[in-house]
């Protein structure tokens, strides 16, 4: 039995463990890459991990919390708490550069820099590069894709449909 208080992990160690916890819906991104983990604080009381949801209705949030618990237990960390906060609200800008590259390799076009890109009416389309062939001749099919965080695109060059991780 490992007691959390006599074997304290460093913040870096905890973060490296969390790097092994993947988003259940985008299984190439860790919760650290995604920016879901906001803070890791360690004091004499133990470790406090602060997380934030991507979308209010994100069904993966409970799974993510369970996965974090399971991973830390597996690593022998016992004295920890997980806190969920809403503010500041999660934004796609928090996805790390490494995370964006992983998304692209996985076939999901990463979010363009900086959040709400929406005008209410009219054409306000961003150029999204096809993650497969790199063509910019792409077309949005729907703002809403296979999960809340993605939009559906199709590439006019290679004719493949793909997901775009949309900006919020």
């Amino acid at each position: 039995m490992v007691n959390g208080s006599d074997l304290m992990e460093t913040k870096e160690q905890i973060l490296s463990y969390l790097e092994e916890v993947y988003d259940p819906e985008v299984p190439v991104l860790s919760v650290v890459d995604l920016g879901i983990v906001r803070k890791v604080e360690i004091d004499s009381e133990g470790t406090l991990i602060t997380i934030t949801p991507t979308y209010t209705g994100c069904p993966a949030m409970n799974v993510i919390e369970d996965d974090i618990r399971a991973k830390l237990k597996e690593k022998g960390v016992s004295n920890f708490n997980i806190k969920t906060i809403l503010s500041p609200a999660w934004t796609t800008d928090w996805i790390s550069e490494a995370g964006k590259q992983k998304l692209k390799d996985y076939g999901i076009a990463p979010p363009e820099k900086s959040s709400p890109d929406l005008s209410l009416i009219g054409n306000h389309k961003k150029t999204i590069k096809c993650p497969r062939c790199g063509s910019t001749d792409t077309e949005m099919k729907s703002f809403f894709g296979s999960t809340a965080c993605k939009a559906l695109y199709v590439c006019n060059n290679c004719k493949e449909p793909f997901d775009y991780f949309k900006c919020i």
């Binding site: 979308y55 959040s115 009416i121 894709g145």
Partner: protein, 256 residues
């Protein structure tokens, strides 16, 4: 002290109103699951439903905490009778055809967008943080339904007619979105909630802009039905709740 209780009570009812609007709206959209006109739209409507139910969870959880009787979001959503629901009667209206659903969502979403925007500066920190989250999603919802209103309204003769018929039917329920209660005044004084008069002005400007582009005529004001916040609903809400609440009513405390 009694003042504080009065504000607390007003806040509780206000949060139920916010949560119920999103819950009922989200449930209606979830009824489209598997029935969307095209796959992309099926996915879009259910994605929006998920966002709205997510927003509702945050507001109803907070309502339960403000009430202080230990009720959870689930208790509030699943175990309240129809006359205790405070949502506007617009959002409980039947889905009808796709045009009817889009028009109903459009009229509500423009309202929700301007309301959540105003709540970003609420003096209540918790409301502010929920609104901060909700506004990002709601902006996408607004873009989605505005696009459809324009596409269908300025589309074929048939799609135009269906959308015009939809607004003609729904118009009488729109004023209920802006119904203010006595208790709201306390929240407005405390700057927890905005005045709905200002929200209505913004709503009117936005819908005129989009409906103008869509070549849809805004109906003349005639009889306006109201009462959602007082628990007076159309017959449709009871049937919706029967489905929404069935599991917890039949098998109290069921989990899976």
């Amino acid at each position: 002290m009694s003042d504080k209780n009065a504000v607390n009570d007003a806040l509780f009812n206000y949060l139920l109103w916010l949560g119920d609007n999103s819950l009922v709206s989200g449930h209606r959209l979830s009824e489209w699951c598997g029935h969307g006109p095209v796959l992309e739209e099926d996915i879009a409507l259910t994605n929006i439903a998920l966002d709205l139910i997510g927003q509702s969870r945050l507001y109803l959880t907070y309502a339960g905490e403000v009430e202080g009787k230990g009720r959870s979001e689930d208790d509030i959503a699943y175990l309240r009778d129809v006359m205790f629901f405070k949502n506007s009667i617009l959002v409980e209206q039947l889905n009808g055809d796709f045009g009817m659903t889009i028009m109903r969502q459009f009229l509500f979403t423009v309202f929700n967008y301007h309301l959540q925007t105003a709540l970003l500066t609420s003096t209540d920190e918790r409301i502010r943080s929920i609104a901060e989250k909700a506004i990002k999603e709601t902006t996408y919802h607004l873009r989605h339904c505005s696009d459809w209103v324009i596409r269908l309204g300025d589309g074929t003769e048939e799609s135009h007619k269906r959308l015009q018929d939809a607004i003609n039917i729904l118009w009488m329920f729109t004023d209920d979105l802006f119904e203010t209660t006595e208790a709201d005044k306390l929240l407005i004084t405390e700057k927890i909630a905005p005045e709905l008069k200002g929200i209505k002005d913004k709503w009117t400007t936005t819908i005129k802009e989009v409906l103008g582009e869509a070549t849809i005529t805004i109906p003349e004001d005639s009889y306006m039905m109201k009462g959602g916040r007082r628990g007076i609903h159309t017959e449709h809400l009871g049937f919706l709740l029967a489905e929404l609440q069935f599991m917890q009513r039949a098998y109290p405390g069921a989990k899976w």
